[in-house]
């Protein structure tokens, strides 16, 4: 294979890969669920890390704002993670998400606001705000998981 041929094959492959990203994606329910679980797991990971910091178990205060910002970005549009038809298979998402969708969206929006407020507190380094805003955020997680996630 000549060098120029190789180049065009590579380019073709790259465009093929990029093509997935630039054209609209018709995600299968399975893929949606995998993505959703990965996002939720990452939120849990950041939340667990923050808990260790705010409880004074570790000295990583400089990373607080990063963890908080990541959560805030991930919770920016929770309902988008739960499209119609993604309620079966390997998921703990309960049917009530779609049955009581107004309430679900309200709780998702509360979580988004709580995450943004916590990120603001963490970013400003205002220590007296950080604890209470973190509690509000965890309460918002819990409020949604109480009604809309199957127990493990």
């Amino acid at each position: 294979m000549s060098r120029s041929n190789m180049k065009s094959v590579c380019l073709g492959a790259l465009i093929g890969v990029l093509g997935i990203a630039v054209t609209a994606v018709a995600a299968t329910p399975e893929d949606t669920i995998k993505y959703r679980q990965a996002v939720m797991k990452s939120v849990g990971g950041h939340t667990g890390a923050i808990a260790q910091i705010v409880r004074g178990k570790v000295d990583h205060k400089e990373d607080l704002a990063y963890h908080a910002e990541s959560i805030s970005r991930s919770l920016d549009n929770v309902p988008k993670l739960f499209p119609d038809g993604s309620d079966f298979g390997e998921t703990r998402a309960l049917a009530s998400i779609w049955e009581k969708s107004d309430d679900f969206k309200q709780k998702a929006s509360d979580a988004k606001d709580a995450a943004a407020a916590f990120a603001a507190a963490a970013g400003s380094g205002n220590e007296s705000e950080i604890g209470p805003k973190f509690k509000t955020l965890v309460d918002a997680c819990k409020a949604c998981h109480k009604d809309y996630r199957e127990e493990e």
Binding site: T47, A51, T91, V138, K142, K146, E150, E151
Partner: protein, 306 residues
């Protein structure tokens, strides 16, 4: 000579009349406040409030789905007609600690009298005093939806004979562990969900807190013994106290479902001393290796996939 004394005497009588009232009114208020705390620790409002339908607190009507049928919790507000407003102390104690209703019928095992039996008389009556201090709510009880063979009382009596142990809590040497045991076994009734049951529906004591795949509402209930691999053996006591306070696991997951209710309405409201006592007790239990797996696949409610 008597004249100048008279106002004093009148005063004295007034004071005498007040003396017996003041301390008892204070004692009542104290008892009610203690009852409120105990009611939260015992998780009464969880089952006795129909939160899915925005029901009045403690007025009952919540559906409790079990493998034996659907139970509807009764109204435990002080309403005379539909609640427990006419109950005497003796009737209340018999209901709470022996599972027997005032008219003699036996309550179903969905009501954890098997745990409440270990509650002291004083604590039980403080809960009653608190319930009677709240505004009564008129709400008729709803009949349970059970298979025919359970609408009949002999199976319940048989179950009670096999599974009801009226014995007190075993004594622990350490006062903190003793308090923790009381909180866990008499009030919060952790074992009613977290301890697996045998074929006859009785709690398997040797598997205490080992978790089960057939918990209330058909849920998988986690192993909370200190087993490192399958339980919470990697949690420190601080981690567990933090979980009671915020509902956040060391891994960063939040509590959900029934446990989120237990935390919000009960464990998070305990004093830090009680939270530490409860955590110390739970982590003092024997480790049991029991890995639980959630049913992985569920069918679509629309039947699109299998």
């Amino acid at each position: 000579m008597g004249r100048p004394r008279r106002p004093f005497r009148r005063c004295l009588w007034m004071w005498l009349a007040l003396i017996p009232l003041a301390p008892s009114a204070m004692a009542d208020a104290e008892q009610v406040a203690r009852g409120r705390y105990l009611l939260q620790a015992a998780g009464c409002a969880g089952c006795h409030t129909d939160r899915d339908n925005d029901g009045e607190p403690l007025a009952g009507g919540r559906a409790i789905v079990t493998p034996f049928g659907t139970f509807f919790s009764p109204n435990i507000t002080a309403d005379a007609e539909t609640g427990i407003g006419r109950w005497t102390d003796a009737q209340f104690l018999r209901a709470l600690k022996a599972g027997i209703a005032p008219e003699g019928a036996l309550y179903s095992p969905a009501f954890p009298y098997t745990s409440y039996v270990r509650m002291t008389r004083e604590d039980a009556l403080a809960i009653k005093a608190y319930l009677f201090s709240l505004p009564p709510v008129a709400q008729q009880n709803r009949a349970h939806e059970l298979p025919w063979y359970l609408r009949w009382s002999p199976p319940l009596w048989l179950w009670r004979t096999l599974n009801f142990d009226a014995g007190p809590l075993p004594r622990a040497g350490d006062p903190q562990l003793q308090r923790g045991a009381y909180l866990a076994e008499a009030l919060a009734h952790c074992g009613e969900c977290h301890t697996p049951r045998g074929a006859m529906g009785g709690i398997l004591d040797h598997r205490q807190y080992a978790g089960t795949q057939s918990g209330p509402e058909g849920k998988t209930i986690p192993n909370i013994t200190p087993d490192r691999e399958t339980g919470i053996g990697r949690w420190s006591r601080d981690d567990l106290v933090f979980y009671f306070q915020l509902g956040l696991t060391p891994g960063g997951d939040s509590a959900g479902g029934l446990m989120a209710e237990v935390i919000d309405d009960g464990l998070s409201r305990l004093t830090p001393e009680d939270q530490h006592a409860l955590a110390a007790y739970v982590l003092s239990r024997p480790a049991v290796a029991n890995r639980l797996q959630r049913e992985k696949k569920k069918g679509s409610r629309r039947g699109e996939f299998d």
